[in-house]
Symmetry: C2
Subunit: 213 residues, 2 copies
DNA sequence: ACCTGAACACCGTTCAAGT
DNA sequence: ACCTGAACACCGTTCAAGT
């Protein structure tokens, strides 16, 4: 699994073949099978290993907002450092205990925020879907170009004038600062979560966050 | 491209090989290259074709909220009908005019909502990232299992008791209704957008949406 | 218990020929 | 202008042998 990760880091996910991993380990391709089972299981093991090393789970005493933002930033840092990992996360169910550790930290932050228990799992999925989706859009190419050079948009499609593109041209001419955009999205999601906080009933360990500005 | 889509529908994306597409078209694999360029371009063409046929762009006179929700539902319907399309959308930049048509509809709805022009492109990316990410999570497997059978979570990882999982066990025992979850997420995102509406300055065509409760 | 070698049924793509 | 055939350099995986 370590060799596969090193290979993906150095030459991309496409370079991760059973043959290449075996060669790096110094063994015949078939010798891997008793150990990893299949290529799909190897890819599973790669995301599990990455998730196990996700860093920012230290600051357990920080506010729920800081913890949540830190987790989101750590997720994006991970997808920036290893561009191959985001897409992989969509295809692998997060059942392994190491993935559950991260999930648990998100759950805990949402519970500490005062979100009703019944809403916590859904919001965790919504937030992680966004973070992984953002990382995948960046690393797999969805966010590349497309907003550059919009001079041709107006009237390019016969029956559809694309009026909104025309109006927004000033904001579509240069590609955004993706770091700033991610932070702005996080700020919006933080507001969304604040709005879902249980009306008045104080949770067991509630530390009195202001209900709104 | 049509043959490739049919193949993906019938036997999955992995069955879409140049050789298989060529056979379905009744031609030698190499005969495809002058027409589609490469396999990557073929996959591009597949998502472009799907996007071109995205349905609900008809109701141009509906409220911005209805239009936005309809677009999101159409996106998910697309990823449900063709489970292979969501992952593909992350790897293909949406530069083609047909993709821009959908993007323009989202822009227009956000503009009609009264979102400041400068925020519209970012919010469009946030919403589409979520919709595609949700579809990818469903179809690629991230949402499969993992929340079933959580009886073993408590204390499964030595140094980490996974306390939040333990507390949320009642809500983790059965897999959610994914349709209802998607709708709940959309409702939350609708609220998020409402909160971002330009404070008081009425936009050119503003039709007076209630600012909050 | 762990590894090897040969083989099977595939890939995307290049390149020189054909018509 | 459009298609074909053969070939190159790969894939994941099975299976019978080896030690």
């Amino acid at each position: 699994v370590g060799a596969a990760i090193a290979l993906a880091d150095e030459r991309g996910l496409d370079a991760v073949s059973m043959r290449a991993v075996a060669e790096r380990v110094g063994v015949t391709p078939m010798a891997l099978y008793p150990h990893v089972g299949s290529k799909a299981a190897l890819l599973d093991g790669m995301v599990t290993a990455i998730l196990r090393d996700l860093s920012p789970l230290s600051r357990a005493e920080a506010s729920w907002e800081d913890r949540l933002i830190d987790l989101a930033r750590a997720g994006r840092a991970m997808t920036q450092q290893r561009p191959w990992v985001a897409m992989l996360m969509f295809s692998r169910p997060s059942i392994e205990p190491d993935a559950a550790r991260v999930t648990d930290a998100v759950y805990q932050a949402l519970l500490d925020a005062g979100i009703p228990d019944a809403d916590v799992p859904r919001l965790e999925r919504m937030l992680t879907t966004f973070v992984i989706g953002y990382g995948a859009s960046e690393s797999a190419g969805r966010f590349r170009t497309g907003w550059l050079d919009p001079r041709g948009w107006r009237g390019q499609v016969p029956g559809q004038p694309l009026g909104a593109h025309a109006r927004l041209t000033p904001f579509l001419e240069k590609s955004p600062d993706w770091d700033a955009e991610f932070e702005a999205d996080l700020a919006d999601l933080r507001l969304l979560i604040r709005d879902k906080i249980k009306p008045a009933a104080a949770p067991p360990g509630g530390d009195g966050a202001a209900p709104r500005g």
